[in-house]
């Protein structure tokens, strides 16, 4: 299936968010996730099922004012 990751379409076989992050190469990176605009806490990623066309945002610390 295809999911939109940070604005770019990516192909994935992962059925849940935790597996998708690993497959996408985020590994142990410190990131926060939102699926279709809703925050998904680290502990809930394995329970967050993915479906075709989902929008995933993967955010990390960045400079800010």
């Amino acid at each position: 299936m295809k999911i939109l990751v940070n604005g770019a379409w990516r192909e994935t076989d992962a059925s849940d968010l935790a597996a998708a992050l690993t497959a996408l190469g985020y590994g142990e990176a410190v990131v926060a996730t939102a699926l279709n605009g809703e925050f998904v806490a680290t502990g809930s990623r394995a329970d967050a099922r993915l479906t075709d066309g989902d929008r995933l945002e993967v955010l990390a610390p960045m400079q800010g004012g």
Binding site: A32, A60, P61, G65
Partner: protein, 257 residues
């Protein structure tokens, strides 16, 4: 000492971490400012570059407290989701809440701001709302659960100083016990000193330091200005007057005419 929520701060200079020429310069500036709090944000992370991981390492090494922002959020929903994500990543309940209402001035959407502040406060966040000098909005934000306000000096990045002096003075006078941190628009140390002389509790600065030719030197200059302004406030500045008043006593003056 300045108390914001349950935290006591010695430094009244909060520093933004954006727009520095390099991470090394950012580090120097934070040290020169003797800042205890720096603002940070969340942005999309590429699994290849992992720029965010490097940045986070630099901030952790500095040993400062972070104040994550919701910069760039134009809706309550966006701001709420960003705040939740920031709380997890940065491990803090502090959130500098920005709900932007207008792109040219980057002024806050105060209606959305109050709504988001209420929801986040109820959810256990310590909300630092980026607001205007409007007294009614300030009152609503306090009612929504905010214990700190961050009124703008001037539009973000404009460097114009305290744009509405009368309004800011009225805000200070109206809420004498609420920590008020001037956020945005400070351009030079004299602006920061002026804010402190007027009795504001702290100042958040980013562009004025980051875009200076020598950021660390400018950060040190701001730190000095803040200290001078704070001391002046505590010392009780004289009232301005319209006419001259001789400072040298007239009594005992020789008649030499």
């Amino acid at each position: 000492m300045l108390k914001v929520y349950a935290t006591e701060l010695r430094s009244r200079l909060l520093l933004g971490t954006s727009r520095y020429p390099s991470p090394a310069v950012l580090t120097e500036a934070v040290k020169a400012a003797r800042a205890e709090v720096v603002t940070v944000s969340l942005r999309r992370e590429s699994s290849g570059e992992r720029a965010g991981q490097g940045f986070w390492g630099i901030i952790r090494e500095l040993g400062v407290r972070v104040l994550p922002n919701t910069a760039g959020c134009h809706s309550v929903k966006e701001a709420l989701t960003t705040a939740q994500m920031a709380r997890e990543v940065f491990g803090t309940s502090w959130i500098k809440l920005e709900v932007i209402g207008e792109d040219d001035t980057l002024q806050p959407d105060v209606f959305g701001l109050v709504e988001a502040a209420r929801i986040l406060s109820a959810d256990g966040f310590d909300v630092f709302p980026y607001t205007t000098e409007d007294l009614v909005v300030a009152d609503r934000l306090l009612e929504a659960g905010c214990r700190v306000l961050m009124p703008w000096g001037a539009p973000i990045g404009s460097g114009r100083g305290l744009n509405n002096l009368f309004g800011l003075q009225a805000l200070r006078a109206h809420f004498p016990d609420v920590p008020l941190i001037i956020d945005a628009g400070i351009g030079v140390p004299s602006h920061a000193a002026q804010a402190m002389e007027l009795g504001f509790d702290a100042v958040l600065i980013n562009t004025a330091v980051a875009q200076a030719s020598h950021p660390a030197l400018m950060a040190a200059a701001f730190a000095q200005a803040l200290e001078a302004g704070r001391a002046a406030h505590l010392a009780g500045p004289m009232e301005p007057r319209d006419m001259a008043a001789p400072s040298t006593p007239a009594i005992g003056k020789a008649f030499l005419g």
